[in-house]
């Protein structure tokens, strides 16, 4: 099923797709980061109807180029009523885009999915990836005075930055 979905996604996105796989049944496409808004828009508005951005996160592959990968988990939820039947979730898709260490930025999905707002703020907060076009990109889980981005692999786990109390 994932393979068929990938074929349809490949036709839809054309040369924006760099790589794809369906390992473990998770349909995955790696796309051109410069065209991420175009890609997400096409997936949302086509007949595949990826209407929910379930999850948005990033992974830091330190030492690799591009260093970061922003990962989107899309889902297509059938919101049409079917009598007493529960709603269907016909397909899911994972979209990945590589982000360089410098410039560490990618287009924002906030104009397409409202749910991207808080999740992009979280990725900015913890990984330091800038989402261009985000209306209010500021820290969400950590406090404003915090220095650095803790989920980067080169951020030492032992480092303490308390607002009050002793430093280590």
């Amino acid at each position: 099923m994932a393979v068929e979905l990938l074929e349809r996604v490949g036709e839809l996105l054309g040369d924006a797709v760099i790589d794809s796989h369906a390992r473990l049944g998770d349909a995955t496409v790696l796309v051109d980061a410069g065209r991420i808004q175009e890609v997400l828009g096409a997936l949302r508005d086509s007949d595949l109807r990826f209407n929910v951005l379930m999850d948005l996160t990033a992974v830091d592959y330190l030492g690799r180029n591009p260093r970061f990968e922003v990962v989107y988990h899309l889902a297509s939820v059938d919101t049409e009523p079917h009598g007493t039947d529960p709603a269907r979730l016909p397909h899911r898709l994972r979209v990945k885009a590589g982000v360089l260490e410098d410039p560490c930025e990618i287009g924002s999905a906030t104009s397409l999915y409202v749910s991207a707002d808080w999740m992009e703020r979280e990725v900015w907060d913890l990984y330091g990836i800038v989402f261009k076009g985000h209306p209010d990109l500021k820290r969400i889980l950590l406090y404003e005075q915090f220095e650095g981005h803790p989920l980067r692999k080169d951020y030492p786990k032992e480092r303490r930055q308390p607002l009050i109390g002793p430093l280590n």
């Binding site: 998770d26 919101t79 979730l89 749910s115 889980l141 803790p150």
Partner: protein
């Protein structure tokens, strides 16, 4: 404080009519855990508000990356501490997906039962606390009495009442103890009784209905755009339930219904949660005969590289002792790759996106927390509403600080 001044002699009023800024939280009895809401109010009406989360951030992902795969399981307990088993389950299912292993038949049934038990604990807390925070102490006590019964059963299963640490990669922490099924059947009867009493006390109560009816409403389409799942979405009329949409464990063999609301106000959310409790009891009743029938069958995969042998074998035999030593010190070697796996938790889709680099440690453990996604639309739900409506709306969203802030 805004105070009214005397009327001017000319008849023109000199009342202060400026908007007022009010901080609600971070430490407020109605904000479970800690969340700060900055409100701009005009009298009692909400003009604008900002929800600030993160006060309970403990670096869940960073901590997971520094230990072995097994060592991440107790951290998942501390995400949503109302339904710890469901978080254990979601994490272990993601790892098992990467390992590509098949679980024993009995394990699937016990996991289903434990998950539903956990869901009941979560819903009972939510419903009870919602009443308490509106000033109704008595229904809370009924809810908590039922939750105590749930926690007693959970204690029988795994020795802990709150932070269960019950599900293991490739199995369960231990076998189900003798007499569990009978105790469970008895407790369910008592819980059902308590739910009836709770229902009589609250659901038709005039004050309660006035506080819940037509408050905190938001169109279903907006909820979809916000990525909201779980009882909130179902109360708005979209019957999305992963247990039906993407059946995992043994849900495809079980008979249960997905309750939905009509207009998606707080009252609908309350009713949906009440009905889900009844459905959970129904599911557990279907699991019990299977548990009785399969007693004695293994609950762990038979592979010492994934799940180390049971203690009675470890203490008596050399080979198993070595296997346990290796299992504890090195942990399970998860093949390199990535996987996303999601379950229907008490609050919605609880998913884990994990990346392994083939060493014994997680490279990345991302928790897709339903609480985080569900609390984002709070601002839109409350705009134009009354200050007092925040409390019931916040209760029905059931934002759990540990899971939201991770």
């Amino acid at each position: 404080m805004v105070t009214a001044k005397k009327l001017e002699p000319g008849g023109k009023s000199d009342l202060h009519t400026d908007h007022q800024i009010l901080n609600m939280g971070p430490s407020h009895p109605a904000t479970h855990g800690t969340v700060k809401i900055v409100l701009e109010i005009d009298g009692e009406q909400i003009v604008d508000m900002e929800v600030m989360v993160g006060y309970l951030h403990r670096g869940f992902e960073k901590e997971c990356e520094s230990g072995t795969w097994y060592q991440a399981i107790p951290y998942t307990d501390r995400l949503n501490y109302n339904s710890a088993i469901l978080a254990n389950l979601s994490f272990c299912m993601a790892v098992e997906k990467l390992l590509e292993i098949e679980l024993p038949h009995r394990c699937l049934w016990v996991r289903t039962l434990a998950g539903e038990l956990s869901r009941m604990g979560d819903h009972l807390t939510r419903l009870g606390a919602a009443c308490l925070e509106l000033g109704a102490m008595t229904p809370f006590l009924y809810g908590i009495e039922a939750r105590e019964l749930v926690w007693d059963l959970q204690e029988m299963l795994c020795g802990a009442r709150v932070t269960a640490n019950y599900i293991r990669i490739g199995g369960l922490q231990r076998q189900v103890p003798e007499g569990f099924e009978d105790r469970m059947a008895q407790s369910l009867m008592r819980i059902e009784q308590l739910l009836v009493d709770f229902d009589k006390l609250v659901t038709a109560n005039r004050i309660f209905v006035d506080r819940f009816r037509r408050t905190g409403m938001i169109p279903a389409q907006r909820l979809i755009e916000y990525g909201v799942t779980g009882p909130l979405l179902r109360a708005a009329g979209i019957p999305l339930d992963l247990r039906k949409a993407e059946p995992y464990l043994v849900y495809d063999q079980l008979d249960f219904d997905v309750p939905v609301g009509t207009i998606g106000d707080n009252y609908d959310r309350f009713l949906v949660c009440q009905e889900e409790l009844a459905q959970s009891i129904r599911i557990i009743r279907q699991c019990l005969p299977v548990l009785r029938k399969t007693r004695g069958e293994p609950v762990d995969v038979d592979d010492p590289k994934i799940r180390w042998p049971a203690k009675d074998r470890v203490f008596g035999r050399m080979e198993e002792l070595i296997q346990q030593f290796k299992g504890v010190t090195e942990g399970v070697k998860v093949p390199a790759g990535e996987a996303y796996s999601a379950i229907e938790s008490a609050n919605g889709e609880l998913g884990f996106y994990i990346v392994s680099d083939g060493t014994g440690k997680p490279y990345k453990v991302r928790c897709r927390a339903p609480s985080f996604m569900n609390v984002a639309p709070l601002r839109e739900m409350m705009l134009g509403g009354m200050l007092a409506d925040i409390v019931p709306t916040f209760d029905m969203i059931n934002m759990i600080g540990g899971e939201c802030d991770r």
